[in-house]
Subunit: 416 residues, 2 copies
């Protein structure tokens, strides 16, 4: 089995100022292509430490993936150390220079000499484009082993891995194939889900494995298959998916990279329905769940963050007496919010949230975590009450997921 | 300076199934007592890998903190490997046996032989009580170096560190102290910032180090000081902060744990100003930046995600002719959005975004990344144009940061 070591460079990790999420992300990706990670090492931003890390990793692993220590400021000495390690010179790479020049020109920003220096690469480096930033990735081969150097900024590193490194590692090492299939569920807890599919799970073929991955009110089921014939493993997994789906159909919103909001957006487009949102406790996050994805303008007409009662009354048209009599966090208020935003935006569907996200705002009868949500369409308006926990950010996220799931069920579950 | 290495044992980390939060937590705690972490290593649950990790760590560090590989199941071979490393035997420790017996008795649970074996410790181990679980901590001394073995469950490890290890490390090593200070900037790139403060940086005292930590249009500057008199190092750092601040004052929104939106919220409260937001391309994310933090209701009246032109016209009151003549992504439209949301919400300040976040929506004259933002108050309304990149999520986040920064400058920079 091909062995890999992940070498992260950065004092900010050693000082405990940031979590090393890069190591986990890379490990999970390598696992998917059948490469075994045998070591994570985090070293300081010094030549001595980086060189020691490289030399040790070279002994243990066939692939060394390096992150961090690339950037325009002078504390970055990774490239010089790589030159020393490979016994080569730093040379200005024309393609890298064109890329960094384009990066600055397209943004109308002045380019400094330190930025130009980002195009200086060890002469044995294969240049890997980084469309997300200015520090390129580098691919090296030494005695049949592969070394890859990438910037430490997570979304830049992920871009380089996905657009170049993973594919080329598979080609280089002819790794056996692993096939993953993710079934994405919402609205059912992990242990209940496990009970529903117990018999099916116990009868899975030897080469297929199942994992439960829960987060914020949703559980992803991951089926992992191993084999040498990718198409055969894929077919085998699809057969198992066909068996398990009828058992949990109403909880399944999609597969693989499907996102709940994207899946629901697709349903709305299919059903030719438009959406309007009135948010109080979720404060814009619910709208953001939809708008962070391209294509949301096809069905989302608008959203109002009615944070103050004044806005609820004057802009959204909630009756003053409703708020005075029942409070802003109440069934009556949230029903008016959903119904009124639907009319205000001339949309087919209105949804609304009003709750106490915390840590402040609790009353004797309404503790932190008291959340009302509502749904309105041409058939009427209804509301649901949830009692969540004490963490503000978790409450915001779980509320959004629960309400989006309600919208999903009202729209028929999923696009088939 | 006393050097430490953190050695985490666990295949679940190497497979990417969990994030190694223990390494970060321990690093941050050691940093506070002036012990420099020089390496994080994660190794597999095998004797060979653990032994190699111990031998390497012994060469580099004065303190080796080990987590994981302790527990009742048979895959835990850490203790046997520690015996091999120290060349000692495993013996049943009476105090540890009493503790584990008590743990089970007090919970009314049956104790198995594998649980009794948890009281078997290498004979040179000092026993460290673990009141949160059944696997005890162990403290070893070898040639003036300290080795500590702890369970991998985070709250058990943290209990052992806080109740025993940190205090005993300080006593054993008479450690010097490290002081950190973070200066948080926005609105200037890393390389430009470096140019502004180059002379100051080059003249920093030997015992102070500077690092640049960039993300989404913001750069954090970290000054790290080392010395034996904590108060003196703190004063020395403050003197350097006083020197550098005038050079970059307008970019600095806060220090240490300050968050940009929280800092701007504080300014608004101090200035007794209320805020209203009209968002198009940021789609709710801008409001979420403020509302994710408790206390935002003190200054935020509301936000409108005017995603469709219909909402821009009918709810926000942007003139139909403006959108027809100049387009939704235009200076004229964003000016009306900021001005109108201010009036609609009866707020002191209105801010607005309209842009092409991507990947779709580009026109020949307006490429993806074309972003207009506007600011309105009692003195009038003005707009700014930015040309950002191709990544939708990055564009949304950077737009929010740039506009929050503009709001910050308009409100006086920062609370002083």
């Amino acid at each position: 089995m091909i062995k890999a070591e992940i070498l992260n460079i950065g004092d900010e990790i050693l000082y405990g100022q940031i979590t090393n999420t890069n190591a986990q992300w890379i490990s999970a990706e390598l696992d998917k292509i059948g490469i075994r990670v045998v070591r994570h090492s985090v070293v300081s931003d010094t030549e001595e430490a980086i060189l020691e890390g490289l030399q040790e990793a070279e002994k243990r692993a066939d692939v060394v993936l390096i992150t961090g220590g690339l950037g325009p400021t002078k504390d970055d000495i990774t490239k010089k150390t790589l030159c020393k390690f490979f016994d080569v010179k730093l040379i200005r790479h024309p393609e890298a220079l064109r890329a960094v020049t384009h990066f600055f020109e397209s943004r109308g920003r002045e380019m400094l000499e330190v930025n130009r220096q980002q195009a200086d690469l060890p002469e044995n480096a294969e240049y890997i484009p980084n469309l997300k930033g200015t520090a390129p990735g580098m691919w090296f081969e030494k005695n049949g082993k592969i070394f890859v150097s990438m910037p430490g900024v997570p979304h830049e590193m992920q871009f380089i891995m996905q657009s170049y490194v993973l594919e080329n590692l598979q080609k280089f090492f002819h790794t056996p194939c692993i096939v993953h299939k993710m079934i994405k569920t919402v609205g059912i807890g992990e242990s209940y889900l496990a009970r529903e599919i117990e018999t099916w799970e116990n009868n899975l073929p030897e080469n297929l494995k199942l994992a439960y991955l829960p987060a914020f009110g949703m559980v992803r089921l991951r089926i992992t298959g191993l084999g040498y014939d990718q198409e055969a493993v894929r077919r085998q997994i699809e057969q198992e998916v066909d068996k398990v789906l009828p058992l949990i159909d109403k909880y399944v919103y999609g597969f693989d990279d499907d996102d709940l909001a994207i899946a629901v957006g697709r349903l709305l487009v299919q059903n030719k329905k438009t959406l309007a949102i009135a948010e109080s406790c979720t404060g814009g996050y619910l709208a953001h769940c939809f708008t962070q994805h391209a294509g949301s303008s096809e069905y989302l007409k608008g959203a109002l963050v009615a944070y103050s009662n004044e806005i609820k009354i004057n802009v959204l048209g909630v009756k003053k007496e409703t708020i005075e009599q029942f409070g802003a966090v109440s069934e009556q208020t949230v029903l008016e919010m959903a119904s009124n935003i639907r009319k205000l935006c001339n949309a087919d569907i209105g949804i609304a949230t009003s709750g106490i996200a915390g840590p402040g705002g609790a009353t004797p009868t309404k503790p932190v975590g008291t959340i009302w949500v509502a749904y309105a369409d041409e058939n009427g308006t209804s509301a649901k009450l949830y009692q969540l926990g004490n963490d503000r950010m978790v409450n915001i996220q779980v509320t959004a997921n629960l309400l989006i799931d309600w919208l999903r069920r009202k729209q028929g579950g999923r696009v088939k």
